[in-house]
Point group: C2
Chain length 200, copies 2
Amino acid sequence: MGRGRPRGFDREVALDDAMRLFWTRGYQDTSIADLTDVLGIGSPSLYAAFGSKASLFCAAADRYQDGDGGRPGVAMAEAPTARGGVEALLRENVTLFTRRGGPRGCLLTRATLSCPPTDSTVLAYLDRSRRDRLTVLRTRLRTAAADGEPLPSDDVDTLAQFYDAQVQGLAVRALEGASRAALLRTVDLTMAGWDALAAH
Amino acid sequence: MGRGRPRGFDREVALDDAMRLFWTRGYQDTSIADLTDVLGIGSPSLYAAFGSKASLFCAAADRYQDGDGGRPGVAMAEAPTARGGVEALLRENVTLFTRRGGPRGCLLTRATLSCPPTDSTVLAYLDRSRRDRLTVLRTRLRTAAADGEPLPSDDVDTLAQFYDAQVQGLAVRALEGASRAALLRTVDLTMAGWDALAAH
DNA sequence: TGGTTAATGTAGTGATCGACACAGAAAGGA
DNA sequence: TCCTTTCTGTGTCGATCACTACATTAACCA
């Protein structure tokens, strides 16, 4: 092992920086020059390590989903009830989308709306991520239904899409500048709707 | 009047075409070359008529909001009740976002997430549009509250933000490829929430 | 008909895009 | 020490970006 000149930068630190940049500026508006500036490396090093802008984005987005961006999903999956899980999902996302000094909104939602339709690599990645996200949510709701927990609707599929859309709405509003407090008030409203409907 | 060579194209038809293009591809990924191709004119004609890409976008977005894009808002404002108004707003938006052969999602939402943070002209336009949209919604809800119509919450401001976020969520999901039927099912869920909460 | 005004088509501005050729530098193995 | 291997810095590729200079064309008015 270890043949040849060693890499002059830390791959994971670079991925973190790239993630922050994609999160802040979206996919298309983040240029290779921006990335090499922030990472402090030359473009040949970047291409040697990550292959292309598209695959760098995918690696950075993986890191997002395995780190901060994945916490809301984990919180939901681990909650004892589906109601608590959905509430945790929404509240954790609000926290994530409005962190002080951090990029606002969701890296994936932002990329979905700012990726050129020609970049099939990134589009396919985003589509798969979206499907996985929906599957986790649907699975949690299905388990709850099997456990006899009262849900706002019998249509678990629609429920999953509904709450996923809530998250996307929060992400867009966060990017528009909505305050954390304002977002949390609408989460309260969403959960009040759950309670009113689940009470049957 | 009528001095000089007459314009060789119809300004409003051109705006319609530009609107469709911005709606389909977002702001940044729509290039001047794309526009001159579709409009069938040279770039000097485009600049003579509209000034810049940013001001062309604003003019096209105005046309969007005065035409198809404005219908949901009009339907809401004209409905006899706030409940019917909000339902009309959501359903008309679903129709708008999933028209056969038309661009998916919302031109404004798409632009909000695909506009480079340096383009202050477009960002300011989008911010004003968002504020106007929220004002119309809040006004309708306030009127209903004054009329004694039962609402899902006393906090009209939060209500307006909540239902505006529903619209943004629908727009993102439509762009992701969600079917009209699936979107309408989540609208049903939203309105079921209204009824369950407004019943008090 | 000649002059004024404005829109057009051709062509090209400098800047920036993603990506890479090439040679030098830094490590391990012989 | 010399060779192989891998990474790094300089410089640049063709393509595309938003935008425009320039000469021409087509309408008006006198």
